[in-house]
Amino acid sequence: MRQPVKDIMVGDDYASKFGFSSPEEYYFRAPKKGLSHELVEMMSKMKKEPDWMREFRHKALDTFWAKPMPTWGNQEALGRIDFDDIYYYIKPIEQMGQTWDDVPEDIKHTFERLGIPEAERKFLSGVSAQYESETVYHSIRDEISKLGVIFLGMDSGLMEHEDIVRRFFGTLIPPTDNKFAALNSAVWSGGSFIYVPPGVHVDIPLQAYFRINAKNMGQFERTLIIADKGARVHYIEGCTAPVYSSSSLHSAVVELIALEDAYIRYTTIQNWSNNIYNLVTKRAIAYKNATVEWVDGNIGSMLTMKYPCVVLAGENARGEILSVAFGGTGQHQDAGAKVFHMAPRTSSTITSKSISKGGGRTTYRGWVKTTANAEDVRVSVKCDALILDPTSRSDTYPTMEIGNPKVRIEHEASVSKLSDDQLFYLMSRGLSENESRVLIVNGFIEQFVKELPMEYAVELNRLIELEMEGSVG
């Protein structure tokens, strides 16, 4: 295995990573905005990709151009995206020209309040590409590789395990799925590739990756996780620290494949800075007796559109989607869940919690479908919205398409407003108004937080505290 962690680093090791023969030449070439087949060709060649991937990218680009914008979500905000004004390949860190002084004050403040160590702050804000605890990740990776687990950056995954990647890549989310999946397919870079062999249980959540991957949450990352028969894995991506980025469009694609009896949990916490469009396609397939769980927390961004999906393809497969969205001032979280029951005795649980504040907006958009052969299916959908002030907004769009009458469905939706009586009660016990709000909100998302590993739970609670003060940008 060659330099495992470096492989997934994006930044000043870009050149060595993608094997430039003359990196300087690249550095001095002015980055160009906009999309073209020429750009795709260049990217694919730099990465020394196999022909099939290069062709995949080219075809995807044509699909992107041909596809209309999504007809749901925030049309007005989507309409403001200028695709010609965006860089589509990751720039070396030097060209970003970022220093600690360039990092906005509010972001620095947040790092401080979250108690993120100095070295890590620089890393997270894109000032430094190196992170001193790298050795920790090395050792974890060494440990799991003994079990035959492959855990690489997507680019390296393609180079080293082309056969597996080729078999699964783009099968769940083909470029034709939607405009942004097509865009990602054309210009993807970074992300993770995980393969867990049959029967192998990865006991440690792949969470140490968390920090290091925060910087790596590139514009167009691509993640593929395969749990072979009877395998188990928990992957965590994201970071509660705000991800500061100068690029405004982020569009990831994540595919999870749980073969028979396998189990995958995918936990995300993202806190994008306020200028970002976060338009993500996430889909999983669960075969017979397999389980997939999405635990998805969205804070920050200007517009997030994300609907993690589980396709229940085999008998007794189970899907769970647990999500939290926080829409603050100037933000719209259009999030939800999709479950397709395509086999008998499959079950799914969707729990969505959203909070809107300071004129922010949250939307729950859900789609549950059962096919004609899917007998004895159980579906449970619960969406709760908490609106913290009169200027904020929350909408719910649940859709159910039931193809077989032998189904048990529970659906609950609630919209609550922070009440004067609740505030009065807590304040009468000595908590300040803000402390009271924080307590109410933390209680509201408790069901989600308790699913997180301890340190992230603590961080998320602190982050909510900050968001409630309105001091996070």
Binding site: Q422, F424, S428, R429, G430, G443, F444, I445
Partner: protein
């Protein structure tokens, strides 16, 4: 020292309170000294709960004139949290639920707010176990969400548990007896009695005498239509018990 002993812990001066533009408290004067247990009685709608809400500073209960002095501090214009920090507590008749927040976490948060710093976990646990023992509460109670799905009696107990832990200078206890069976009533009354001392005072709001058999007040005031219409010693309780409130209504006319 002497001065402190003779000045009241709670003093209400000519208090007028409006709810949605309607005057519900029409000039009340009260003084509560250290060690006092004063019963505030009156029929439904007489303004008892309105007075308690106004004392604690609920935003819906507007003080139009008069003042509230707690241990020498004028708290009339303060927000509820500031009043709590000065040492006022209101055990509510119908406290709201806070789903997702466990009783233990909630209690730790309010104790931190009172102290101004985190209460070490071991110290907190000891205090909690002791206070819950006093009120004969199950340990598992601490893991439940605040008032979420609680019975009437459980809500009352949680209010008292907070009171015991916060140890306020002045506690206003609103209808603590409603929804309690006799056994629970005894436990609750016993709890109140045990924390009563020279340095705190209780205002017990009720319209039945039942609770007053267990918590023996040393004085009674009767409220009707937003005014105090009678005050006296414990013998007044018996009179109300026998005759109801009608004989007093003539006084308000």
């Amino acid at each position: 020292m002497e001065n402190k002993n003779i000045s009241p812990l709670l003093e209400v001066r000519d208090l007028h309170v409006e709810v949605e533009g309607k005057e519900v408290i029409k000039g009340i004067d009260l003084a509560l000294y250290g060690g006092a247990k004063l019963a505030l009685m009156g029929p439904n709608g007489s303004g008892k709960s309105s007075l308690s809400m106004a004392l604690m500073g609920h935003p819906g209960y507007k003080v139009k004139s008069g003042s509230i002095i707690l241990d020498g501090n004028d708290i009339t214009g303060l927000s509820p949290d500031k009043r709590a920090k000065v040492g006022l507590f209101l055990a509510m008749q119908n406290p709201v639920s806070v789903p997702g927040v466990s009783v233990a976490n909630f209690l730790r948060a309010i104790m931190k707010a009172k102290r101004g710093e985190e209460v070490p976990i071991r110290e907190f646990r000891e205090m909690l176990v002791k206070a819950m023992g006093l009120l004969e509460m199950e340990r598992s109670f601490a893991n439940r969400y605040v008032n979420d799905g609680f019975s009437g009696g459980e809500k009352k107990k949680l209010e008292l548990l907070q009171m015991v832990l916060l140890n306020p200078k002045v506690a206003v206890v609103d209808e603590i007896d409603s929804g309690l069976d006799v056994d629970a009533l005894k436990i609750v009354a016993d709890g109140v009695n045990r924390i009563t001392g020279e340095n705190n005072a209780f205002l017990l709001i009720t319209h039945y005498r039942r609770i007053l058999d267990y918590i023996r007040p040393d004085g009674v005031v009767v409220l009707m239509e937003g005014r105090i219409v009678a005050s006296g010693g414990p013998e007044l309780i018996n009179q109300i018990d026998r005759q109801g409130y009608d004989w007093l209504s003539a006084k308000t006319a």
